[in-house]
């Protein structure tokens, strides 16, 4: 698990500073469009070795939701 590197990648994808990317950071249709989702799928694949499907990712409303998906997928 490489949380820091992942957070840095996600901050770049969402065009924010890494310090802004706290668990409660909200994902919406404006900041989390299809291009950002493709970036997130790649970042999750690179840092955790998990391929998340687009429906699961689209259902994430916050960074905390996304981390929960990664955690549960890592265990399965």
């Amino acid at each position: 698990m490489d949380n820091q590197a992942f957070v840095e990648d996600m901050a770049s994808i969402l065009d924010v500073e890494p310090s802004e990317l706290v668990a409660g950071f909200q994902l919406n249709s404006e900041n989390f469009d299809s291009v950002a989702m493709v970036g997130a799928i790649a970042a999750i694949d690179e840092h955790y070795g998990i391929t998340v499907d687009s429906k699961t990712l689209a259902a994430c409303n916050s960074v905390a939701d996304m981390m929960q998906v990664i955690e549960s997928k890592s265990k399965s």
Binding site: S29, V35, S54, A58
Partner: protein, 338 residues
């Protein structure tokens, strides 16, 4: 007798769509962002009266005029497209006449996208090595831009209208030049890259041509191309690494034994991720879509032609080809450069 690729010629639609043009139309999408993500500088766009078959004819005439083979010697024509001239007749039949090929020539269309070139090679090998044909002209061509709504930047920045003509001939030798092959299909993804209306499942109507705003500033009608980019990306991450493992196993070789890898040139971002995931060295991996774009079934032959011209591949090299996309459909093979 074994099947071998003897020549490739390609043709990009003459109207070019540049990153500068796209950046001027799409707010927040700068030239650098577009080229950085896609790896593409220029895309071909077919004219209003220019069909995929017209692009294919230009590529085929380039090949037939190169003196590699006479028109009379072609005994089979295969046309891979998702943009046919008509529902019927078969576009390849029209092309047979326009190319001046003999009436003893077999001709067929088949409908595949990004996996289509590798499928065509597999079919050609079967026809040649069972003695059914000797010189096969495989033409791949598509005009996706005719399906794309101009505001749909996610697909307009990637896809490109173009064609390639590949000559596959019988050669007198014992050892395989082409193959083995691995094929795969997962039709559960059929709605993720689709033109929903226009076929018989949903005919064109006054409703299907109405473009609706699907996300701010992006409009799409049911007669337009829809791509669920994140789903297509997940599909490739899930399906391509096993495809590469399978073709290596079937060929009884490792990554080190392969001189060059030509994957379907979808976009730079996806290809870079796939390369890292499959542990392929950067210097052996083809990234050749800057001046072509994603021409669907023609990306692999276009990249092969350019790699041969640039000296990236030479006679005797073992090259892996892998196509994957719409369907979902995928295929891979090994090719020895002759």
């Amino acid at each position: 007798m074994k099947a071998a690729i003897k020549a490739i010629r390609s043709h990009l639609a003459p109207n070019h769509l540049t990153n500068e043009q796209l950046a001027s139309e799409y707010k927040g999408w700068g030239v650098e962002k577009i080229s950085g993500k896609t790896g593409i500088s220029v895309r071909g766009v077919a004219g209003p009266d220019e069909c995929a078959s017209d692009l294919g004819l230009t590529a085929a005439n380039k090949l037939l005029d190169a003196g590699v083979i006479s028109r009379e010697e072609i005994d089979f024509l295969m046309f891979c497209t998702q943009s046919p001239d008509y529902f019927l007749p078969t576009t390849a039949c029209i092309m047979q006449t326009k190319l001046g090929l003999p009436t003893t020539c077999g001709a067929m269309d088949y409908n595949l996208g990004c996996s289509g070139f590798v499928y065509g090679l597999g079919l050609a090998k079967g026809l040649i090595e069972t003695g059914q044909a000797t010189n096969i002209l495989l033409i791949t061509a598509d005009t996706y831009h005719k399906y794309i709504h101009p505001t749909d930047r996610s697909v307009r920045t990637i896809f490109s209208d173009g064609a390639a003509a590949t000559l596959i001939s019988a050669v007198d030798q014992e050892e395989d030049i082409l193959g083995p092959f691995v094929f795969g299909t997962d039709g559960t993804g059929f709605e993720q890259l689709i033109v929903p209306a226009g076929g018989h499942r949903k005919r064109c109507s006054t409703e299907t041509c109405v473009a609706k705003e699907v996300t701010p500033g992006v409009f799409r009608a049911e007669e337009n191309l829809y791509m669920n980019g994140p789903d297509v990306f997940s599909f490739t991450l899930n399906s391509v690494p096993p495809l590469i493992r399978q073709i290596l196993e079937k060929s009884k070789i490792t990554v080190d034994d392969v001189d060059y890898f030509v994957f379907h040139q979808a976009n730079k971002f996806m290809l870079e991720r796939l390369r890292k995931k499959t542990d392929i060295p950067e210097n052996k991996f083809c990234l050749n879509l800057e001046s072509y774009g994603n021409t669907v079934s023609s990306t692999i032959p276009m990249a092969l032609e350019l790699a041969r011209q640039n000296g990236e591949i030479k006679v005797g090299d073992r090259v892996m080809l892998a196509g994957f996309g719409v369907g979902y459909s995928w295929a891979a093979t090994m090719l020895t450069i002759t």
